[in-house]
Symmetry: C2
């Protein structure tokens, strides 16, 4: 079942800040780690490490992503699970937007849209 990532993977997702507009999550895992399927709202991502991951969508599709530290991306609302298939930790800040936007009604890519 899809769920809040702080419930599906509480060892990896920590709430860094929350108010009525946003919730900020800090994600940290290690090579080989996998997450349980979970849901993200429209979010900004900022990468604190360079990493390589395989993302699995709810429809059985998958996508490999390799992202450098210091990258800002947009994660459109989606359900997915992730697998750290690289040799480095994945360390990411997610700024979740609580106000839905028009953009969230469009189908988006699996994983982030990078700047």
């Amino acid at each position: 079942m899809s769920d809040d990532p702080t419930h599906s993977d509480p060892d990896k997702y920590k709430v860094a800040f929350e108010n009525d507009r946003v919730r900020v999550l800090e994600y940290l895992d290690h090579p080989g780690d996998q997450t349980t399927e979970h849901a993200h709202p429209d979010s900004v991502m900022y990468t604190l490490s360079s990493f390589r991951r395989r993302l699995y969508g709810a429809d059985g599709d998958s996508r490999d992503v390799e992202i450098e530290a210091g990258t800002t991306g947009w994660l459109p609302a989606q359900i997915h699970a992730g697998h750290n298939i690289g040799n480095s930790d994945t360390h990411v800040i997610f700024v979740e937007l609580k106000q839905p936007g028009v953009a969230s009604h469009r189908p988006g890519p699996l994983g982030p849209a990078l700047a």
Copy 2:
């Protein structure tokens, strides 16, 4: 005159990402640097360095802040100028929210509200 920080201080504020929901700015300065007065919308801040700054409000008030690297804060919409009064660079990611919220109508503190 108050202004967009990418106009008032284009050498320090860079646009890292923008869509219809958010604009993400990367701020970088060095010890002794000062900014021209500028306006921020409601924003999430994430600090990439530890730093010490003196903030000057539009009303002539000021506040010194000392913040550790890896801190998430909420910057309520405000007009201010800043002065790096420490011995380290100030390096911060700002996620500016384009949708106004109820919170932005409340008077907020000068500088960030830290988690």
